[in-house]
Symmetry: C2
Subunit: 464 residues, 2 copies
């Protein structure tokens, strides 16, 4: 592989065939965000191939959502299984008419890797939907407690909610953090705080936003400052919970703020959030849409925190290849049927795929591999950062598997140039480069990535 | 088939195996809404089989979402295709890295049946998501026009939207009708007005609700009254648009209010909505999640209206086996990339299935069949209604394919009893029975349905 980057001919990316395909697509489907058009039949493992025949080491992985590699044989087998064909062809309203296999599909798949203490599941189709379902569960629980167990709904409640009025449609808030991303539905978008392009012109709920700790790097040189910063954020959270104009019923947080710039906080900070939410009866929702499924070197990002008691709800999507939320407390199941419900409640076909992903991860010990490879990768990046401190700043993700990121001078130019050296890599935040390799990324791939990165940085430092 | 209903032994539905399976499922996944647990391997065509071996004529079709029958051979073929296996295994972030087949999958599938004038598409995963995406497109278009073409976003806008504050997060409304159902996300739920069980305890936007015309049946005996009723509703719509406390940017309506009770209105009423929305620059969204894909005897429910100009947006899901919206005006594509975007933007696997559904519907002329069979079915139900006028009231859906419904005395008891006679049938509204057979429902199935219905009604009339 390193041979590729020694090529003297720099390809035009996207190439002519990609451009033509994107243009054709654009007549019926907005294709302005297309980087290149892919040939998935030729893609394999960690490598994605485009229609021009360019082969890229993929450390972006479909916005962090390919778990175990392109054309993974175990996934192909699952895709060909009779169970899958039935799920594709006989799509059920799974809440009303689940298949006889549904229990085992969940039990032998997603439930094998449920977060500790959260052994029940609600299935969904996207991270955004999973988060909104979590909010709704928290809201119904809050009102159930207010109402008192067994107290029935009043006529005033049931009639006013149809009018979108109180008391049936109450003012209830979900607290989120500055720079967070939790999705693009009207509820989830009200908790997303990363970029204007996600939010502009869309009405939102009047929900509170707390500052996320802005840690200084390297962490070991800023211990006291960072602890003070986290304390400040926790105090702000508590103040918002206790003083907001209406009840804050849930708090949602990513273990690592991904879209917002790969912002980390310490286990102590998250323990603080657990304590505060418990103290004030706020549902603690951990959004593991991007951090879940192993890339941090543990199956769940929040497993790094060693919490004294688990979160109330953990949401997932992306590498799960399906979506939903885990929970433990039965009270999070609403008091009546059909309150948390929709026609499909997820997609059994995608849940079957997630089962195959889980088996592959466990069988091949890919979380352990990611932890190991991540350590080597981080150490290599540290060396490069020492050489080019202006171009690799605030290196972060130590001990977090391959979930590594750094700030740079111009992330857009950097990732564009990386594509010319056949590495597909992504950005986040303002000028952050984020690494999101798959769980099958190995030590042997590191030199390709590092060589391309050094070559690009060298060129940038020469020209600017 | 009619032999079944002559059986003297009435089965317990759900049977013991269904009950046991639902109970097992309930330990990890809320199963309170389960009618029975299905054996999809044994289900075929119009018939669903449960784990106890009971075989039901299915005129509910997974909440109106099975298009062409269980284990349809053409769909099985699509499910086994190399294209499908790739889509399942290599799930793309389709906005960034679409496959080389993506254009053709759309072009040879969903776009073959696009509503007249609406030849562009945005893909999604559920009807609720499709509607919310439509709202967002309408909102961004409204603000784009207010801002003026080419005028860039201000710093005040981009910074305030992160705070969920004006002017970046403006107050903009979507108008919907009483008894409508448009989904369960926080935005779509704010336009849903059918039942408290969907809405209670969930915060909603302060959006306007207009009365939907309450037509009297039989239509031919109430021509003037019904016209006046529709005029009243249209006047109310215009008043709400012009006097609401903030701009009404979109109006959403179902061609037939389904969840809310199978409420119909005349083509003239919908032409009135088209005229009013055009006059006031309001995006006219037709929610064809339940009415689309042929059950009304035309491919799209709104095709019955002969509008002078098409709706702005038509949303779809359910029988499409995927979801999304069609549109024509390029201005509904936001001014910048990534504004209407998410990781997956639908699911190519499900879009491939929808292509197979489209081919099957067109090849087998199933829309025409549904129109023809619906006429016979309606005529038969009219006879039964004449015999049992108290039990079949306000029969509706004439000329609307098999999209037929009637009010009755106790719809819950009726459909429960129908299951004991091996007909799976659904309810909606307050005491409405809705027929939602698949598009492969034939004349030969009518006697089974009618015989069971008559037997149940006879028993009810005897006992009550």
């Amino acid at each position: 592989m390193p041979a590729i980057i020694e090529s003297s001919v720099v390809a035009e990316i996207p190439g002519p065939l990609s451009k033509a395909a994107a243009k054709q697509l654009d007549s019926v489907w907005d294709s302005r965000a297309v980087y290149f058009v892919a040939d998935y039949d030729k893609s394999e493992g960690n490598y994605i191939v485009d229609v021009d025949g360019n082969k890229f080491l993929d450390v972006y992985s479909q916005i962090a959502s390919i778990p175990v590699g392109y054309n993974n044989p175990a996934l192909i087998e699952a895709a060909k299984s009779p169970e899958m064909i039935s799920a594709l062809v006989n799509r059920p309203a799974v809440g009303n008419f689940p298949s006889s296999q549904w229990h085992d599909i969940l039990k032998n798949g997603l439930l094998r890797i449920h977060p500790e203490g959260l052994d029940k599941i609600f299935t969904a189709q996207s991270g955004s939907e999973a988060n909104e379902l979590a909010f709704k569960a928290a809201m119904m629980l809050h009102r159930r407690k207010e109402r008192g167990e067994g107290v029935d709904w009043t006529h005033e409640e049931t009639s006013s909610c149809i009018e979108n009025s109180k008391p049936g449609s109450p003012d209830l808030a979900v607290l989120s953090f500055a720079n967070s991303f939790h999705g693009r539905g009207f509820g989830s978008l009200s908790t997303t705080r990363s970029k204007a392009v996600h939010k502009l012109d869309i009405p939102s709920f009047d929900w509170p936003k707390a500052t996320f700790p802005a840690l200084k790097y390297p962490l070991e040189k800023h211990v006291e400052e960072n602890a003070a910063e986290e304390k400040r954020s926790l105090d702000e959270v508590e103040k918002l919970i206790t003083s907001w104009r209406f009840p804050v019923v849930a708090l949602i947080v990513e273990p690592i703020q991904s879209e917002g710039g790969d912002n980390h906080a310490s286990p102590a900070f998250f323990q603080g959030l657990r304590d505060l939410t418990k103290k004030h009866g706020v549902t603690f929702i951990v959004d593991e849409v991007q951090t879940g499924f192993g890339a941090t070197g543990k199956f769940w990002g929040h497993a790094h925190w060693n919490l004294t008691s688990p979160p109330d709800i953990v949401t997932f999507s992306k590498k799960a290849q399906t979506a939903g939320y885990f929970f433990g407390d039965r009270q999070l199941v609403p008091d009546k049927a059909y309150r948390q419900f929709n026609t499909w409640i997820g997609d059994p076909a995608r849940v079957i795929m997630s089962g195959a992903v889980v088996r592959e991860i466990l069988d091949k010990k890919l979380v352990e591999q990611t932890a190991r490879v991540g350590e080597v990768l981080y150490a290599e990046l540290e060396k490069l950062a020492a050489k080019y401190p202006e171009y690799i700043k605030n290196l972060r993700g130590k001990g977090q598997g391959t979930y590594i990121a750094f700030d740079t001078v111009d992330s857009a130019t950097l990732v564009k140039s990386m594509k010319k050296l056949f590495v597909n890599i992504g950005t986040c935040g303002v000028n952050t480069v984020r690494l999101r390799p798959m769980l099958i990324f190995e030590e042997s791939h590191i030199p390709t990535l590092l060589a391309a990165l050094e070559k690009v940085i060298e060129s940038m430092s020469l020209i600017w």
